[in-house]
């Protein structure tokens, strides 16, 4: 699903966020990405989602070589990816259901089908009763779950999450990570950046450790387990 070959990302200011990173994540696998702040976790996820371009190296996602992906092909490419952010990035000018429906609207779903899927996604994250609420009235954990519902509502093949439990207490964090495991169980490939080492080490999934832009141990993820 994801293949990085000797990828380097250097920003305009000269900082090297990633150095010679190679990585392989098979379809249906779930892996955690850890490392201290500034280690390059977000950059790696952004490169995979094609929100950034690498300075050097090759990235293949879902069988597509991102080096040959034209700008006008990017929207089509991103429609197969779900993204979860630490700060949720919800739109506060519309209710929860409209936030979750955004990817379906972009994909041109019929209204009735979209409504069904939105409800299913909200049900999955346990927020069906809040579908008409305004995001500002929700707690941080609830907002994060709305963000997750939005990321999975169009059933993408790949889910990328950047510190999804960053601002949450341990109990909520565990719930959120459990959601990702559930999605993975039904076939969604997932790469989750988190510095919550204590929690993720208990989940029995491969952990990739990034430090100073280098992937400390180059893990090749295991095939999807039933855990």
């Amino acid at each position: 699903m994801i293949r990085l070959h000797r990828v380097t990302k250097r920003f305009g200011c000269g900082t090297e966020a990633l150095r010679n990173v190679s990585l392989r994540v098979d379809a249906g696998a779930l892996a955690f990405l850890t490392g201290p702040s500034g280690a390059g976790k977000s950059t790696l996820l952004r490169l995979i989602a094609r929100l950034e371009r690498p300075t050097r190296g090759r990235i293949m996602v879902n069988g597509r070589d991102l080096g040959t992906l034209a700008r006008r092909q990017e929207p089509e490419f991103r429609r197969n990816i779900g993204l979860v952010f630490q700060d949720h990035r919800l739109l506060f000018d519309r209710p929860v259901h409209a936030n979750v429906a955004l990817p379906l609207e972009i994909l041109g779903f019929r209204r009735t089908e979209a409504r069904k899927r939105v409800r299913a996604a909200l049900d999955k994250v346990g927020l069906l009763q809040k579908e008409n609420a305004q995001p500002l009235t929700l707690s941080a954990g609830e907002q994060q779950r709305v963000g997750i519902a939005r990321a999975i509502v169009h059933r993408p093949a790949l889910l990328l999450a950047d510190e999804p439990t960053g601002n949450l207490d341990p109990e909520l964090s565990r719930e959120i990570l459990q959601l990702f495991l559930d999605f993975n169980r039904v076939g969604m490939t997932a790469l989750i950046a988190s510095h919550n080492l204590g929690l993720i080490s208990t989940l029995g999934r491969p952990v990739l450790h990034l430090e100073n832009g280098r992937l400390e141990a180059r893990h090749v993820t295991q095939p999807r387990s039933t855990g």
Partner: protein, 307 residues
């Protein structure tokens, strides 16, 4: 399109998508009433001004065309003897394009003049007849070009004669009208360019306000076409609004200027009714507003999305 491979489903989703974009842009316009009113008013003024000038020009042309004017060409000849005059008149009558020729002897002209005077005895003071013989020519064709050609032909035929056409003023008016139209065209183009740029800036600003929504939508796979759709509808809305405002303004201005213009025409002895804007002018104004609104929004959104 993942869902609904059927055509009807696609059409329904497409219509829903567009109606949502239109609804959102309307909502945004309604929730920024100050900015919306200013933009609509500016567009209205910019459309109304050339429309009013055009109306004036059209009325001026109607004035010149409305006077049923038979152009006349007068040849003033210094001739001795009636035979020569009749012969010349016959030669002119034989020319193609001549409808009618009237020859007036110098003596006949003086006699007619004497009759028109309150005290004909005054003319007895003259030692001889100062009036020339006149040949009046009515050309078949009344266009300024035909009259000018005929004038030229007569001047060549009778180089000693003074040729004067009373159709000159129509030609002058036509030339003025053509020049006026050209000026109007250039001014309109400049105004259209200006307002389009203003609308583009407004549209770009609106898109920048939506930057969070746009960023999220882009990450989710939205195309530029999808992202600018609400702006385009916004541009169309502003355009229609501007067109309607311009119509109202035009109506007010015509109402305010109609009677003084008509009174002036009466003073000049020309019966004239100032024609107001017709339905087709209204359609053109709204249509132009629509097109300018769309172009402005398209330019603005292209710039904002590129940033």
């Amino acid at each position: 399109m993942k869902d609904g491979s059927d055509r009807a489903g696609y059409l329904e989703a497409w219509l829903y998508n567009h109606s949502e974009a239109a609804r959102r842009s309307l909502w945004r316009r309604v929730h920024a009433p100050g900015q919306t009113l200013i933009l609509v008013a500016v567009l209205g003024f910019v459309l109304a001004l050339p429309a009013y000038l055009w109306l004036l020009l059209e009325n001026a042309r109607a004035l010149s065309a409305g006077v049923d004017h038979q152009p006349r060409i007068a040849l003033y000849l210094d001739l001795e003897g009636g035979g020569a005059l009749t012969g010349t008149a016959a030669r002119i009558d034989a020319l193609p394009g001549v409808a009618e020729v009237t020859a007036i002897e110098a003596d006949a002209a003086l006699a007619a003049y004497r009759e028109s005077l309150p005290d004909p005895a005054l003319l007895d003071w003259l030692e001889d007849n100062p009036l020339p013989a006149i040949i009046e020519v009515l050309p078949l064709e009344r266009t300024p070009e035909a009259v000018a050609a005929m004038e030229q032909q007569l001047a060549t035929l009778l180089p000693e004669a003074t040729v004067i056409s009373d159709h000159e003023w129509v030609r002058q008016l036509d030339a003025l009208h053509a020049a006026g139209l050209r000026v109007l065209l250039v001014v309109s183009a400049l105004l259209a360019l200006g307002i389009t740029l203003i609308l583009a800036v407004a549209s770009a600003a609106e898109l920048r306000e939506r930057h969070e929504e746009i960023a999220i939508s882009r990450i989710t796979g939205a195309t530029d076409r999808f992202l600018r759709r609400p702006s385009l509808y916004g541009g169309l809305l502003l355009g229609v609004g501007g067109g309607l405002v311009s119509l109202i303004l035009l109506g007010i201005v015509v109402m305010m200027t109609r009677s003084p213009v008509e009174e002036a025409a009466v003073v000049f002895g020309i019966p004239f009714a100032f024609a107001g804007p017709q339905a087709r002018v209204g359609l053109m104004l709204v249509g132009t507003g629509l097109v300018l609104g769309w172009i402005g929004a398209r330019l603005g959104s292209a710039a904002a999305l590129r940033d």
